[in-house]
Symmetry: C2
């Protein structure tokens, strides 16, 4: 249990300087502390939502006085004349007085990048156990957060069973393809996925904005020759490209690509988004790669187009490198989930005759999954306490 | 009908130079033309999807020969030795040989920014007419694309009627709040929206990623004193901030804010996203503003925090400026839709006694709406032809 051992008014009361017993020190501005105060007139005790707007906080807010109290600090604010308590741990968790994260290409520390050497068994669990045991569900969802990929085996071989997987953590994202869609050979396929063709590893629906952030593929039949599933960590591929050719990698990040789907008369989806998306501080946030639905790319200036295309080609070569892919043959009742903003999925071709292959797919979103995971993790902490 | 009147091999066959009869000229690279070829071995005639990957295109692709043909051009590619046709109009639509869009803060030309002087009647139509007449629906959806806001009046006063509005163009985004949620005074509100308090104009669910891109609020009862609805164009507010204080505006764009919702035990939503989101070429793509769910902002370095907070305060003042708001009192059977990545909505406070106020709300996504609009617009062109 960390405590504050030193505090002083700073910059004429515009800030405070705090020292914790773990050796950390940090400065906090008066206006920031006041805006984030934890008292029940600032935050609703019932639901935690802020009850005030920033305009309710006087512009000339300063710290009149500050003192150690209950392991944290009591701060008296001018001109309101109110004193508020800030716990030591909360201050430590929310300290912003540090150097900003740097680097023009970074991958979040809570994600592990992987290549074909990833043992799929590590991220695979049993459908029934995960459905029954919250702690098994917590571990399985944590795989999705860390690896962007996880599998379940031994589920029911039933039409629509994939919806039970979604119910474990969130909600289906319904689209023009329906609540879920059938992935099997069709006579007049509206999408190449509904043929026996092999599919280069890709992310789904880059032509949709917002793109579905999760996809589940659930196997009901798979007696056909071939038709193995494969997944590739797009973050690992992007990292390899950056290491080989940083300039080319940044072209893919700095110019929007275009994606389009016009498969049937009643749908026309179009989006303009980069193949590699970086946040403002250089953190890789999304990969979009789909040869079938990439539209003519027209946001790249003429002089940059050759280098852009060279990087685009190289990224495709990395994605097609067998060393990158985790391959497996899904059995009926097996399913896998991918973070569709990170992990590419594909399949080897299969014969449309002699045996059958039938998967069902659906989309969902990461916010619900992370919320469920966060609640389960909080329960684990509470149970341990 | 535009035609190509001149074409020449360029840069030793790495590109072509084209002149149209409307005076435009543009260069196209051989690799770009080959990758985007329209023949039925490159693109599926059935569904328009690309059948090849970039790796299927020889790296040393060059233009062996090019000539005028059928108003467009025929291009012979080395080393494949194949000749493909590119129509004049397609080349014009996809020409990328121009200066890249510049400016560090721009608003898309297909969006009209507006303030309180917007006449809500301009974007309001009748529920029944829009439901029955595709051309009325097309006009109404076009308002959503251009203004980020539109209204329907005279709809049924029925529980769940808002789902019929979504069915006009797309699909509900189900969340932990359900397929839809009730906005009325509750005894133990899990959200301040479910009280009689006034709500500062805000975008919904910034703590969700992906954030729902559309919201519909449908009125079933509104006999209470007050409780007027108001909407504000967040793009107009951001533009005003940029004009007053470009540096401050860019701080809100360049550092992530944090948003959190922990209203009930089984939900914990958290996101890290900027209040103002700019694309890589400086186009404003999203506004996120919600005083109730803004968590402690810790991604801003200490030295930038005072200026960040000053800009945050100023943005709130602009949003609270009555000159920015379009106000209206929703009657039972009225509803409105907002682009939740752009337009803020709020309400004046109302008395919880003597009269009642009951709205139902739901979320949906822009991709489905734009797809429906695009198909309706194509039908209009076809009908006119």
């Amino acid at each position: 249990m960390t405590g504050v051992i030193g505090v002083e008014r700073y910059e004429d009361g515009n800030a405070v300087k705090i020292a914790w017993d773990n050796g950390r020190t940090a400065r906090f501005h008066a206006i920031w502390l006041r805006d984030n105060a934890l008292d029940d007139q600032t935050r609703s005790p019932a639901n935690g939502q802020r009850l005030i707007t920033l305009q309710d906080v006087p512009q000339d807010t300063r710290i009149a006085d500050v003192r150690l109290a209950g392991g944290g600090i009591d701060v008296s604010f001018h001109p309101e004349g109110r004193t508020m308590h800030f716990p030591a741990g909360w201050l430590l968790d929310n300290a912003y007085d540090r150097l900003p994260a740097t680097g023009s290409f970074r991958i979040s520390p809570d994600k592990d990048v992987w290549d074909g050497s990833l043992d799929a068994a590590e991220v695979t669990d049993d459908f029934g156990e995960v459905s029954r045991q919250p702690q098994r569900l917590r571990k399985w969802l944590a795989h999705v957060r860390r690896f962007g990929f996880a599998r379940l085996c031994g589920g029911p071989v039933e039409n629509g069973a994939l919806l039970d997987v979604v119910k474990l953590f969130g909600f289906v994202r319904e689209t023009n393809y329906g609540k879920w869609f059938e992935v099997r050979t069709e006579i007049n396929p509206s999408n190449l996925a509904y043929t026996g063709l092999g599919l280069q590893a890709h992310t789904d629906n880059p032509y949709r904005d917002p793109t579905p952030t999760l996809q589940i593929l659930y196997c009901l039949e798979n007696s056909a020759e071939g038709g193995d599933s494969l997944v590739i960590d797009g973050f690992c591929a992007a990292q390899r490209l950056y290491q080989e050719d940083p300039g080319g990698c940044m072209l893919l990040a700095n110019y929007c690509a275009r994606f389009e789907y016009r498969g049937t008369g009643d749908v026309h989806l179009f989006s303009r988004q980069p193949m590699l998306e970086l946040s403002l501080n250089g953190e890789l946030t999304a990969v979009r790669f789909n040869n079938r639905s990439t539209a003519p790319i027209t946001d790249v200036p003429y002089d940059d187009m050759p280098a852009y295309y060279a990087a685009y080609r190289r990224l495709g070569e990395i994605i097609d490198d067998p060393a990158m892919a985790v391959k497996f043959k899904a059995e009926p009742g097996d399913c896998f989930i991918v973070d569709n903003t990170r992990v590419l999925h594909g399949r080897t071709g299969y014969a449309s005759t002699g045996g059958s292959r039938w998967l069902q797919g659906c989309y969902a979103d990461m916010d619900g999954l992370l919320s469920t995971l966060s609640v389960l993790e909080q329960q684990t902490i509470d149970d341990a306490a």
